[in-house]
Amino acid sequence: MNSIIHKDSQMSVAFEQFKDKLYHNSFAFFQLIALQALGYLFSFSSSMTGIGDQHFMLSIRHISPIPLFIMSVIWIVVQAFGFSGEKRREYYMVSNNFTAYFSDIAVLEIYAVIIGITMVFSGPMLQLLAGLSSGYPNLGTTYDSMTALHYLSLFITTTFYALLFGAGAYFLGILRSRYQSFLVIGSIAFILLLITWSLLGIRFIGPGFNIGTAGVKQFYVQETSIMLWLIKIIGSLGALYGLSWLAIKNLEVNR
């Protein structure tokens, strides 16, 4: 009996790889729980507003899950760097660059969905944690103003934002894997490019030109039309995924 030759499709191999990665990277879930615990801690110290004088002090402490989201984003960024950095391992099983890339992206998308789900339940979780501590006698909530559509918005926005960060980190990680020797030069070139772009932008567009992080944030976060927002997000994701693929396409597997 000779060894049988197999010719399975790339997608079937990619799917198998996706399941395998999800399973073998389960420690990431442990890390998520740890980081989200930290996020919940910071959520209780989110922000405070208040007024007062020598007679009267009114403070409103906002318990907001924004820190939780930030910690979750940190988590997905770390995972994305991990996937893009350690690319040799999977090739010793059945893999090529396409299946490796596809399965990485698929796993990151699952992680982003998990973040979205945890954000949807963050309100009740915070309420539960506050209740267990018995230290929040005047606990109010403005979650009552949220309808089902708001929860859906919360899920969609947090999932896509997390995915955007993950895709960005993955792209940077692939660049690092592929062009290790050009990392320093590339970083310097990128910074110079940003500076040049901002100078040109201010010169021709005016002082309102803003490509800083605030400007990037506004580009997505201030968009109130869901269709336009989806176009922006999916376009950005497409660009990042496309660039990542171009970078990984001819990546060699070598020590």
Binding site: F29, I33, T49, M57, F121, P124, S134
Partner: protein
């Protein structure tokens, strides 16, 4: 009490980081998956668990928020108000009743009982209506001094915070040459309201609240006002030190 929570979290987190760093590779795949499963179950059950675990401050459905400057309206109309009227007033709440023994015979017109508001040093804010009203009523129905302090009901984002106000402390002391004095001390009120605030992402496509969506939280206005209604025995000679009362009701004639 709630200070324990952050420390507990920090301890837990340090423990997790320690475990993660030194034993991370010893945490098996199956254990990680099971932990995630448990975490997921907690998340799914959290709405139900939270309902049992917490007593969020209920919005008072029967009362809308106190109108702005309601307190001033009371002052403007005070001529018609009796103690009983104020006690039935829905926008005022009794936060303290103090009864102090006084012997009317110990005082005379030459040596009257002093009601002092010196040292209170209450100044209104420019944009807030903080102030106090003192009303003194002579009554033949009381033998001691009874001070009823009313507080204007305060609401923040629909939640009543009136009970957070510290009532004044009224005490009797001796002043001058053995004369009695009723003295008020204003205690500092500290009201902390914790509010769970959803992240702005939830309202990203809700144009109705676009302008407030990502701005900093602003403290809503809170109008505070205190009315101290002091019932004194009918025959007690008094004089005032500090500010004069807004109303002095002479019960026997019904005049002021």
């Amino acid at each position: 009490m709630y200070a324990i929570l952050p420390f507990a979290f920090i301890l837990f987190l340090l423990l997790v980081i320690f475990l993660s760093r030194f034993f991370g590779k010893k945490i098996s795949t199956k254990l990680s998956i099971r932990l995630m499963g448990v975490y997921g179950m907690i998340l799914l059950l959290s709405p139900f668990l939270a309902a049992f675990a917490t007593d969020t401050v209920d919005k008072d459905d029967g009362i809308t928020e106190t109108p702005d400057f309601y307190y001033q309206e009371i002052l403007e109309n005070y001529g018609n108000y009796s103690l009983e009227n104020l006690q039935n007033e829905e926008y005022l709440k009794v936060i303290k009743e103090t009864e102090l023994r006084v012997s009317t015979e110990s005082f005379s017109d030459d040596d009257p009982f002093v009601i002092s508001t010196t040292g209170l040093n209450v100044d209104g804010w420019y944009d807030r209506d903080y102030g106090y009203t003192m009303i003194v009523e002579r009554s033949d129905e009381v033998e001691n001094i009874i001070i009823t302090q009313f507080q204007q009901r305060g609401f923040i984002q629909g939640y009543e915070v009136t009970q957070g106000f510290e009532p004044w402390t009224w005490t009797l002391d001796h002043w001058g040459q053995g004369a009695g004095r009723l003295k008020a001390t204003l205690n500092r009120s500290e009201i902390s309201l914790f509010t769970l605030t959803p992240p702005p992402f939830a309202f990203q496509f809700d144009e109705g609240i676009a302008s407030d969506r990502f701005g900093g939280s602003q403290v809503p206005s809170l109008n505070v006002g205190t009315i101290n209604w002091i019932l004194i025995p009918e025959d007690l000679p008094i004089r005032f030190q500090g500010s004069e009362p807004h109303r002095l009701i002479e019960r026997d004639s019904g005049t002021e």
